[in-house]
């Protein structure tokens, strides 16, 4: 045991500086910059799909079938002559929505559980964290699959399944981040000043774990998008004619010889989106914690 009494102040992570500095640091990291760019483009696509998309994404016979990319139909057309560009654009809206809703649900519930466990300690902590450990060891894929098995295949159920599957992860992460805060003197000082549980959790704990959780959630969006697309790919998620990328990918397998772009385009779209959120999350991490800069 090193004498805590005499140890010099060790590298304590400098707290986050003003927002201005944060964004500047974010765009300065190559990961953060590229990630931000990708996500920004995605958001523009998602919100602007109505204006950007040249055709109705579900209308058959917008053009000839199996038209290769280039020309009037920038990304070509699919087996029903639907415009791929329009489908991809509307798909981005769906994809972002899936990511946001799934992560939103699991993040909210997971954080609440994690913070409560860290704050309450005792048997509540044991029960909550042991059960989330158990669920976590099942991996998201299995939990999501089990949920779909019970609920039946549909996009809503797939999102719900992915959201449920994510809870243990966020609970664990938030719990360990909360434990660090809870053991800090400022936390005890506020308790000693007579602050109640609500104030402790929502005024002190929440703002301090939030940066960590934002990093984790940004990375989590990519996981959720991948998981939901995977379920749709297996046929357990989105149903036709939804322009969901995973479903589009699955449906294009038969046309690999005739129209390989039908498989390539949604695949690239998923990969770039996931990459964008991964990079952005990485950038957030670096920008929020200078100590992590080199990780």
């Amino acid at each position: 045991m090193s004498g805590s009494a005499t140890s010099m102040p060790h590298r304590s992570s400098e707290p986050v500086q003003a927002k201005h500095g944060f964004w500047r640091r974010l765009v300065r990291t190559p990961n953060g910059f590229v990630g931000l760019l990708i996500v920004a483009v995605l958001i523009v696509c998602a919100f602007g799909a109505d204006f950007l998309a040249p055709y109705n994404p579900t209308k058959m016979g917008s053009g000839p079938r199996f038209l290769p990319p280039g020309g009037t139909y920038l990304l070509g057309t699919d087996e029903f002559g639907r415009d791929m560009l329009s489908r991809i654009l509307y798909g981005s809206r769906l994809t972002l929505l899936i990511g946001a809703v799934a992560v939103g649900i699991s993040l909210t519930i997971g954080m609440l559980l994690g913070m409560v466990a860290a704050y309450c300690r005792g048997w509540i902590e044991t029960v909550l964290m042991r059960s989330s450990d158990i669920l976590f060891s099942f991996t998201e894929t299995l939990i999501a699959l089990s949920c779909v098995a019970v609920l039946g295949p549909s996009l809503q159920n797939a999102v719900l399944a992915v959201a449920i599957a994510g809870i243990p992860f966020y609970a664990r992460t938030c719990y360990s981040a909360s434990l660090v805060e809870v053991s800090k003197p400022y936390f005890e000082a506020s308790i000693a000043a007579g602050a109640g549980p609500f104030r402790m959790v929502f005024h002190h704990l929440l703002p301090n774990v939030l940066p960590t959780m934002i990093v984790v959630a940004t990375l989590g969006v990519s996981t959720a998008i991948l998981a939901a697309a995977g379920l749709s790919f297996l046929g357990l998620g989105a149903q036709p004619p939804t322009p969901e990328w995973g479903y589009m990918l699955a449906g294009s397998r038969d046309y690999i010889n005739r129209a390989p772009w039908l498989m390539t385009i949604p695949g690239v779209a998923i990969a770039i989106t996931v990459l964008g959120f991964n990079l952005l999350g990485d950038g957030f991490r670096t920008a929020l914690d200078p100590k992590e800069r080199d990780r």
Binding site: M60, F80, G152, P153, Q239, P240, P241, R253, D254, N257
Partner: protein
């Protein structure tokens, strides 16, 4: 395979060494047939899927067989007689049929099969299709008599189908019958079944063919038959191209290219009995109204849709039972089947109070696989043209059956439910199962229809029965209860490697491997 090994011997060697396995491949004298899925059971009483039926037809025999037009002909039973009322059938069996374990197949085996089908503890899944059989009696080793409670004319075609595969009574003592072992008397003898992966057969050297649609009167020419499971269509196609597999269903979209290149033969089964049709939840709005059903029927252009998805592999069907099945008559049915007429459909919808802002909403349930979800998507678009908003739900056939029944039992709510139902049968008696009270799906029934269907079961005179069957067609079609779309619908296209000679498919999609010779 040979070429591949030569080219990448080192890589393969390392892998084989590191994994301690051997490179598995088909032996020179084996036929390899790849399918998208596996069988459910080796026991003909424990499954209903086409995938299972096709396999049973290879390892078991049936009392009767069908000819190229789908009519019952003698097979194990060389002849049969019935009494006038049609409640007693006596079959005399051919001599010299032996089970795979060497025991002779006789009347006892037939009785054993029927008894197990009606076993009160664990009846066959298809018990209902056997009809009202009250007893099976062994008159002598080569004569068996079946007694029925009421006449049942569909028994004869049923006994020609693999649902009625004769299970050798020596299976009774075998542990793991249906899962690990199965003794039949068919041309192929089970070696092993690796669930989910492959079934391995060797030829039955003792085989005698009396009536099955094979030119070969005896044992198959090839030594073995391996039926493997390859779910991915493109993977099956690749395996066909490399020669790993001899016969497989190709990706539909590549059929035109395959034909053009001539590398592979494309075989399309005829007289499959398969019928794909619209079926509706009729106990609640909107489809409790005939006009809503007709609106759907008029809005669907089956010919255009299947042309888009299957090309010429499938054809539109007008009758509630498909070509090759007793009573089918395209011209007759075309008179009553609601034709493609979107304007008429829109009129009906307007009449019902639907409009662009208030579309008719319905779920559209579709059986997964075989590009049916794509077809569903086309139909969805066609329905959208007239202002019907259908949301597709894709599911396995079992789930579909359960769901359709649930939808029919649910009389609440205003959102419709319709489904692209798929049935294959060798006799119009299927209509009895579907539409006679209470109905397999608890769907549409009426006393009038019940009376017609009752008669189709007991009329022993073919002409009289045909008239009655067509009366049922007329009722079903004009009321848009059973709206036929196309035929065939599943597992009916085969791509065959050029060195494989004499492969053919019997009616009701039973592939025949006995005649096959693979040239070197």
């Amino acid at each position: 395979m040979q070429k591949f090994l030569g080219k990448h011997a080192i890589c393969a060697g390392i892998l084989a060494l590191s994994l301690g396995g051997s490179v598995a491949g088909a032996g020179a004298k084996d036929i390899v047939w790849a399918r998208y899925g596996d069988i459910d059971s080796l026991d003909p009483h424990r499954a209903t899927s086409t995938l299972s039926l096709q396999v049973w037809s290879l390892m078991y025999d049936t009392l009767l067989a069908v000819d190229a037009d789908g009519h019952p002909v003698p097979h194990v039973a060389k002849s049969w007689t019935s009494n006038d009322t049609g409640t007693e059938y006596t079959f005399s069996l051919n001599e010299g049929v032996t089970c795979h374990d060497g025991t002779p197949l006789d009347a006892n085996d037939v009785k054993y099969t029927i008894d197990t089908a009606f076993d009160s503890e664990k009846p066959s899944l298809t018990k209902g299709s056997w009809g009202p059989i009250s007893s099976a009696e062994v008159i002598d080793p080569l004569t068996v008599k079946l007694t029925l409670e009421t006449p049942f004319v569909a028994l004869i075609p049923f006994l020609a189908d693999s649902f009625s595969s004769i299970i050798c009574d020596s299976n009774e003592d075998a542990a793991g019958f249906g899962t690990d072992t199965a003794i039949g008397s068919g041309p192929w003898k089970l070696v092993s079944w690796t669930k989910g992966d492959k079934i391995v057969f060797e030829k039955n050297p003792e085989y005698k063919n009396f009536g099955k649609l094979a030119e070969n009167p005896g044992a198959p020419y090839m030594d073995g038959l391996i039926i493997t499971t390859v779910p991915e269509p493109q993977a099956r196609f690749a395996a066909l191209k490399t020669g790993e597999v001899h016969i497989a269903e190709p990706p539909f979209d590549d059929v035109a290219a395959i034909r053009e290149s001539g590398d592979l033969q494309i075989m399309v089964a005829e007289n499959t009995g398969q019928n794909v049709f619209w079926e509706f939840a009729v106990h609640r709005p909107p489809f409790n109204d005939k006009r809503a059903r007709l609106a759907v029927a008029h809005a669907t252009d089956a010919a255009a849709a299947i042309n888009l998805i299957y090309g010429d592999l499938s054809i539109p069907e007008n009758c509630p039972v498909s070509r090759g099945v007793f009573g089918n008559d395209q011209d007759f049915c075309a008179e009553y089947r609601p034709a493609y007429d979107p304007e008429k459909s829109k009129e009906l919808l307007a009449e019902l109070g639907y409009s662009e802002s208030n579309p008719l909403e319905t779920a559209l349930l579709v059986w997964t696989g075989g590009n049916r979800q794509k077809l569903g998507e086309v139909f969805q678009a066609q329905l959208a043209e007239v202002g019907i908003k259908a949301s597709i739900e894709i599911m396995d056939i079992g789930s579909l059956n359960a769901r359709v029944r649930q939808e029919n039992e649910n009389t609440e709510g205003t959102t419709g439910s319709m489904d692209m139902m798929t049935w294959s049968w060798y006799d119009p008696d299927i209509l009895y199962a579907l539409w006679h009270t209470p109905g397999a799906y608890r769907g549409y029934t009426s006393p009038e229809l019940d009376a017609i269907l009752d008669e189709t079961r007991v009329l022993t005179d073919p002409e009289a029965r045909k008239a009655k069957v067509q009366e049922a067609f007329k009722y079903l079609l004009s009321n848009a209860i059973h709206v036929p779309l196309y035929t065939p619908g599943w597992e009916w296209v085969f791509a065959v490697r050029p060195e494989v000679k004499n492969f053919h498919v019997a009616p009701f999609v039973y592939p025949i491997f006995s005649d096959i010779k693979i040239e070197d």
